[in-house]
C-alpha cells in the first residue's frame, strides 16, 4: 500500500478558489475527519472543512473519486476552498498531521502514469515537467547555495551530525571509553539547534508569504475614509471619493508592493443598515471579501470613541483610526494593531505599511528566506524530531535519542542532500581513536 500525498493544485497566489488535492489510501479517513463523512463518488458536496477539535479551517466543495476511476488511479479527494493562501496552508498543515505527506513535484502525474492512466506521449510530457520543476529547483538551490538559507540549513545539518557522532559512537563503540550520554553539553546543543530550526521556520514562512503576498480588505462604517485610504496607498485616484456616505457600492481592487511584499487591496462598501438593494448587494460583496482576506484594515473615525472591530474579524484586523487631522492627535502607530492616519495627506501611512509587513511575518530584523513549502515541511519535521530527541535524552534512552537524531538528519537531508551511514561512520573514525 502506498503513502497518501497532498498538494495545493491551484497556482500559488490568488484565484477565486484554491484546490487541495489528496491522493492515496488515506483519502477516506481524511474525508471522515475533515468532512465528517465520505462524500458520494464524483459529486460536488458543500461542506465545512473541520479539524477533529471542531476548528473550521475553511469551507467549500468536496469531491471524492474512488480508485480506480480517478486521475491518479488511486482514491482521490479534492477540496475546493476559498483560495486564500493562508487557508490553503492551514488545510495542508492539518493534512500533514494525518499521515499525509506533501507530494513531490509532479508526483500526482507520476502516480497516474504508474497506474497506467497516461499514454506514452503524455508520459514524455510528464518527465519534462518534472525535469523543469527540478531544474527550477536546482536553480533555486544554486541561488540559495551561496545564500543565507542553505548556509543555515547546512549549519544545522552539521550540528546534527556532530551530535550523532557522539551518540552513535557511544552506542557502536561502547568499550572505547567514550560515553557522552547524560552529558549536559548535549542537552544544550539540542536546545540551540531547536532554536535555530524555529528561527529558520519563521524566516522561511515569512519568505513564503513574501512570494505569495497578502490579501487585504479595507472596511468600516460609511464615510470614514476607506476609499481615500485606498487611493492614498495606491498612489492614484482609483476610487471615487465624496463627502456623501455610501459612495462606494461595488468592491474595488488595486495592487501594490511594500518593499517587495505583494499586497492586493480591496476597497469595500461601508457597512450600515440599508433598504437600498444595490447597497445591500455591495455590502454582501464586502462581507465575502472580508472572509477571504488574510488581513482586514478596519477604518474608524478618529473622533468616534465607541468604534470597535467586529468580533468576527478581530484576529485578522488592524484598526485604522482615520481623519486624525480633525482631532489633532499625532498620526502613527498607537500599537502594533492600531494606527492613526490622515488619508488626505498620507500621514501615518508609513507606519501602517510597516504594520502590514508585520502581518506578513516580516518583523524588523528578520530577513526572510525564499522558503518553499517543502522546505518548511522538512524543517517542521526536523523540529519535532529534535524536541523528541531532547525528551529521550532526559530519559537517558540512548537508542531513541539516536533514532530521533537520525530522523532529524534525514529531514534536513531532504533540503541539503543525504548523509549516509557510511559518511557518519567516516566522521566517527576521524573524530575518535576507535578500534582494537
Amino acid at each position: 500500500m502506498s503513502e497518501t500525498i497532498c498538494a495545493i493544485a491551484t497556482p500559488p497566489g490568488r484565484g477565486g478558489i484554491g484546490i487541495v488535492r489528496i491522493s492515496g489510501p488515506a483519502c477516506r479517513n481524511v474525508a471522515q475527519t475533515l468532512l465528517g463523512n465520505v462524500p458520494p463518488p464524483r459529486s460536488a458536496t458543500h461542506s465545512d472543512f473541520c479539524t477533529t477539535e471542531g476548528e473550521i479551517l475553511d469551507s467549500g466543495i468536496a469531491l471524492y473519486f474512488p480508485s480506480p476511476a480517478s486521475y491518479t488511479g488511486e482514491d482521490v479527494l479534492e477540496l475546493q476552498g476559498h483560495g486564500s493562501p493562508v487557508a490553503l496552508d492551514r488545510i495542508v498543515g492539518y493534512l500533514l498531521e494525518q499521515d499525509v505527506r506533501l507530494a513531490n513535484p509532479g508526483e500526482f502525474t507520476e502516480r497516474a502514469f504508474r497506474n497506467d492512466k497516461l499514454d506514452l506521449a503524455q508520459a514524455e510530457a510528464v518527465a519534462d515537467l518534472i525535469a523543469s520543476g527540478s531544474a527550477e529547483a536546482a536553480r533555486a538551490a544554486t541561488r540559495s547555495l551561496s545564500g543565507e538559507f542553505s548556509r543555515r540549513v547546512r549549519e544545522l545539518d552539521q550540528g546534527v551530525l556532530m551530535l550523532r557522532i557522539f551518540i552513535e559512537s557511544a552506542i557502536d563503540f561502547a568499550e572505547e571509553e567514550i560515553d557522552f550520554l547524560g552529558d549536559q553539553e548535549q542537552q544544550k546543543q539540542l536546545a540551540e539547534m531547536q532554536a535555530l530550526v524555529e528561527s529558520l521556520i519563521e524566516r522561511s514562512s515569512a519568505g513564503l508569504t513574501m512570494q505569495l503576498g497578502l490579501d487585504v480588505a479595507i472596511a468600516g462604517d460609511p464615510n470614514v475614509g476607506k476609499s481615500s485610504l485606498l487611493n492614498q496607498l495606491l498612489g492614484e485616484d482609483r476610487a471615487i471619493v465624496t463627502a456623501t456616505a455610501g459612495t462606494t457600492r461595488d468592491t474595488l481592487h488595486g495592487e501594490l508592493s511594500i518593499d517587495g511584499l505583494p499586497v492586493r487591496l480591496t476597497d469595500t462598501a461601508g457597512l450600515r443598515e440599508s433598504d437600498d438593494p444595490i447597497e445591500v448587494m455591495g455590502m454582501e460583496r464586502a462581507e465575502a471579501a472580508l472572509e477571504q482576506a488574510d488581513c482586514v484594515l478596519w477604518v474608524v473615525d478618529d473622533e468616534d470613541v465607541n468604534a470597535a472591530v467586529p468580533e468576527a474579524y478581530q484576529t485578522k484586523a488592524l484598526t485604522v483610526s482615520n481623519k486624525c487631522d480633525l482631532t489633532g492627535r499625532e498620526p502613527g502607530a498607537v500599537n502594533d494593531k492600531v494606527f492613526r492616519t490622515c488619508a488626505l495627506t498620507g500621514a501615518g501611512l508609513d507606519e501602517l505599511r510597516e504594520g502590514l509587513k508585520g502581518v506578513a511575518g516580516f518583523r524588523s530584523g528578520i530577513d526572510a528566506f525564499a522558503g518553499r513549502p517543502r522546505h518548511i515541511a522538512s524543517l517542521k519535521r526536523t523540529h519535532n524530531a529534535l524536541v523528541t530527541a531532547a525528551n529521550e535524552l532526559s530519559a537517558l534512552q540512548g537508542e531513541l535519542v539516536a533514532e530521533n537524531l537520525r530522523v532529524a538528519h534525514e529531514c534536513l537531508g531532504e533540503i541539503v542532500g543525504v548523509t549516509t551511514s557510511d559518511d557518519l561512520l567516516g566522521e566517527i573514525f576521524a573524530t575518535f581513536c576507535i578500534g582494537k
Binding site: V126, F173, E175, A395, L400, A402, L425, C433
Partner: protein
Amino acid sequence: MKYPTAFDVIVIGGGHAGVEAALASARVGASTLLLTQAIETIGQMSCNPAIGGIGKSHLVREIDALGGTMAIAADQAGIHFRTLNNSKGPAVRATRAQADRVLYRNAIRQVVERQPNLTIYQDMMVDLTLKSDRIVSVSTRLGMEIEGGAVVLTTGTFLGGRIFVGSEQHTGGRAGDPASLELSEKLRTLPLAAGRLKTGTPPRIDGSSVDFTKLEEQPGDEPRPVMSFLSSSDVHPRQISCHITHTNPQTHEVIRRGLDRSPMFSGDIEGVGPRYCPSIEDKIVRFAERDQHQIFVEPEGLQTTELYPNGISTSLSFDIQYEAVRTIRGFENAHITRPGYAIEYDFFDPRGLMPSLETKSIENLFFAGQINGTTGYEEAAAQGLVAGLNAARKVAGQTAWVPQRHEAYIGVLIDDLTTMGANEPYRMFTSRAEYRLRLRQDNADLRLTPVGRELGLVTEDRFKTFVARRDRLDKCNSVLAGTTVYLNSDLANKLSKETGEAISRDVSLLDFAKRPGVRAEHLTASGVFTDKDEAYLVQALIDVKYQGYLRRQDQAIERSKEQMGIKLPIDMEFEGIDGLSNELREKLEKVRPSTLGKAASIPGMTPAALSLLSVHAKRHSGLRKTA
C-alpha cells in the same frame, strides 16, 4: 583426473563463510562438497578469539535464527560472556563471547562432519573451468577436476595473501597457512574487479610471563547471556576473566622510533586497512595527543596460557614489538609467542555481485566472506549462509532469497556491499541499520525463523522450540491487550504501588504498560503474570513501548518498498535525463543501480531526482515494448 562424483554445490574454503555456506546448501538438500586446504583449520579463528560484539552479535543471532551454526558453537566454546550496551536500549544491546579457539573449531567440525548431504575433501583449488560464461568445474593442486552445478568461493585472506612484519615479508594466507596464489592469478584473468585490502593482528603473549596483579581484572557478566536461541548457559564451559591494561607514553616513544621500518609507512603495503581497526602505530600517528590506549587482554583458551592483547595490532619489526610490549604495565617481562603481522590480500568489488551473492559476470559462481571486502567472522558467516542457500536454490531452479534492509542486518550487509562496494574492509555497526529499532537480538527468530523454515534451513526441532516460544509471547500480548485495570480495583492498587504510576481511570493493561515506569517484574509481582512469563514479558514490553517508533518506521518501509520495487533498466542513459545534476549523473553512471531503492541510497540523492528516474525508467520500458 576427474573426481568420481559431481556435486550440486562446491564450497571452497572452510572458514566461517565456507562452513555456513556448506551447511546451508546441504541443509536445503543440495549434494554439497566442502573443499578446503586443511581439514584441521575448519572453523579456525584467524584473529581474535571472540564471537559477537555490537552489531556483530546481531548477525550471529540472525544466522542462528536461520538454522546456522555459529551461535551454538560460540556457546559451546565461550569462556567469558558479556552483555554490551545494556543501558542504551534493547535494540543496541549486544552479546560478546571470548571463545576457546580449540573448543570452537571442534564444535564447528563436529557439526560439519555430521551434516547429511555434505562431503569434506582436503585439497587446494587452483583453477576453474567455464562453459561460455558459466562455471562448470574446479581443479585442485593434485590435479583433480571436480564438477559442480554452482561454486561458492570463500577463500578469506588467502588470495594473493602477503604477510608483513616490519621490512620482512612473505606470501601466506594467515600465519602458518600458505596463500592461494594460482587461484588469485586465475581469477584476475576473469572479468571481475580485483583490489587489495589489508588487516593486521597483534603479537600473542605467553600468560605465564605476565604479572596479572598489575592488570585490572574484568570478569564476565552474570547472569550470563547466551548466543543461540537454542542454548542455555548450561552448555558453557568453565568461565575465566579478561584483563585490562594500557599503553603509555614510553610505549608510544618506542613505536615512533620503529615507524621507518613499518610496511604501512614505507609504502610496501598498498592495500587499504580498516579505519575502525587501526594498528597501534596508526593510532599513535593519527591521534598523537592521546598518551594511552586501552588493551583488553583476552585468553586464547582454557588449555593454553597464550594471550591475545586486543588493541595493539601491529606490523612493526619484531624488535620494536618486543621492546614496546615490555613497556606496558604487567607485560614488563612478557614473552611474545607469535609476532603481530599485517596481511594484504585480494578482494573483488562486491558491486560486481547480485544480492544473491552470485557474480554478475560468471553464472553460478558465488562469493562470500572476506573475498567480498568484509572483515570479521560474523560478517563472513552471514554471507556464507546466504551464498550457500542461493547456490543450492540456483541449481534447483529456484529464485534467490535475500532478506531486505528492514528484515535483518544480513539484509543491510548485503545491500551495503552490493550498492556501495567496499573502500575499506567492511564491518557491521548498528548505525548502518536505519531500521535499527526493529532489528533486535531478542526478535531475530521472530523475524527470520519462519522464513528459514520455509526455505528448508530450519530443522523441525528448532522450529518446534521456536513455535513454543512464539506462543508464549503471543499469550503475554493477548493478556496485556485483554486485561482492563479498573479504577480503584485491587489490581490497580497493586500496580500503582509497584510502579509508582498513578491510575486515575479505567485503562487497558496494554496502555498502562506503555508508561515509562512500568517494567516486566511489576506485572509479574502484581499477579497478572507468573514469574515464568517474565522473560517473555520483557520482550513484549519492548514492542509495546516502541510502538510509536515502529509504526513510523513501518511507513518509511512502505515508502522504500515502493521505491525498491521500481526496476531501473541496466542500459539506462542518465545522460539523457534533464534536471539531474552532473554530480548525481556521474554517481549514477558509476553505481548503475538496479532499482530506485538502490539509487535512493546514493549520497546526495534528492526526492526530485528519484521522481525523474522512476518516470524515465517506466518510459524506457514503455518505449521498448512499443519498439
